[in-house]
Symmetry: C2
Subunit: 202 residues, 2 copies
């Protein structure tokens, strides 16, 4: 299109980024080539490092380059509280927006039988082992308030109850149908502090 | 923030892309890590190839990995017509949106004395040499209709006139104050065919 195979390939590759269409991709490619080659190289190096070195925390399954992530390894956290979220971005939203200082468990998705995502894919065996091995006082379920998030919450709550651990759900302060990741911190704090026993009417 | 130095570095690096803020960068990083590692590696490879191998065409100064770009090397182009544009994206817009089949000359910017961008930075010495060496019948000036684009057009037109070559300016079909790169192809075609002698009143 611009008569360069290499630039065309870069434009195509940039479109793997979410929210980037053909025009944005072209603008990004030309911006880097014309003004910012060094930062383009740094981006390539950061991408390779991340794609090759980032794995999952053995305890909470969040994305990290360490065997056990910093939060799970920290001695300052309340180890009797466990918050179950769908994605690392959800954990980051709670971490940044509230004063929660317990541990996390990241499902890396939600139950979706039609897409073949069952309990094993969400690491619920790992969660069950932790419930058995660790001295947890409460599990807070903070999946999104979507249909799949609710179904997942229900399924997880059953597992927690089987281990005799108190299970709570963050309050419906968050907008119905909304995604947890994009909720403001005030609403998130409210939802955390207003959590209720699973199954209890509001 | 997510407790991972490598992910933080990737999020920071992604912000070098135009139009990408902290939230988008985090979303992009997590999207690649969770779902698309192979395409993330392909993006890194495409970035490195482009940053290291893409240079400028010796004739028209557009971005290309070849010594002379495909358009300048093509035997199918009308070699007596030369269209002067500010950026490779502008050349691409004309190429995609109109039936122009002459050659291009890419200034890679516009005159901007306050930013230290003078005639040399725009390769006007290369243009003067081409005007002397080649058998050009007409130079079409297609800089943007911004203040800097107009000033650049005037400066370039003087150089072309000194070589006794006809010089034209694309018509004011394009919206005033607008950027050429984002003009629709109908307006671009109209502007090209309605070009007029430089200095002539509309």
């Amino acid at each position: 299109m611009l008569g360069s195979v290499i630039i065309d390939r870069l434009v195509t590759a940039l479109r793997c980024l979410p929210g980037v269409g053909p025009k944005s991709a072209q603008r990004m490619a030309l911006h880097l080539l014309e003004r910012n080659r060094e930062r383009g190289r740094q981006l390539a190096a950061a991408l390779l490092d991340a794609m090759d070195q980032v794995g999952h925390c053995h305890l909470c399954r969040t994305l990290t380059e360490l065997p056990v992530c910093r939060i799970c390894a920290s001695e300052k956290r309340n180890r009797s509280l466990l918050c179950v979220v769908e994605t690392p971005a959800d954990a980051a939203a709670i971490e940044q927006g509230t004063d929660y200082r317990g541990l996390y468990f990241v499902l890396l998705g939600h139950l979706s039988p039609l897409d073949g995502i069952g309990p094993e894919a969400l690491g619920l065996d790992v969660l069950a082992r932790r419930l058995h091995d660790e001295d947890l006082a409460e599990v807070i379920i903070a999946t999104s308030s979507t249909v799949e998030g609710e179904a997942t919450a229900h399924y997880v709550s059953e597992i927690v109850r089987q281990h005799g651990v108190r299970v709570t759900r963050i309050a419906y302060g968050i907008p119905l149908g909304g995604e947890l990741e994009f909720t403001d911190s005030g609403t998130l704090t409210h939802a955390l502090s207003g959590r209720r026993e699973f199954g209890e009417s509001p």
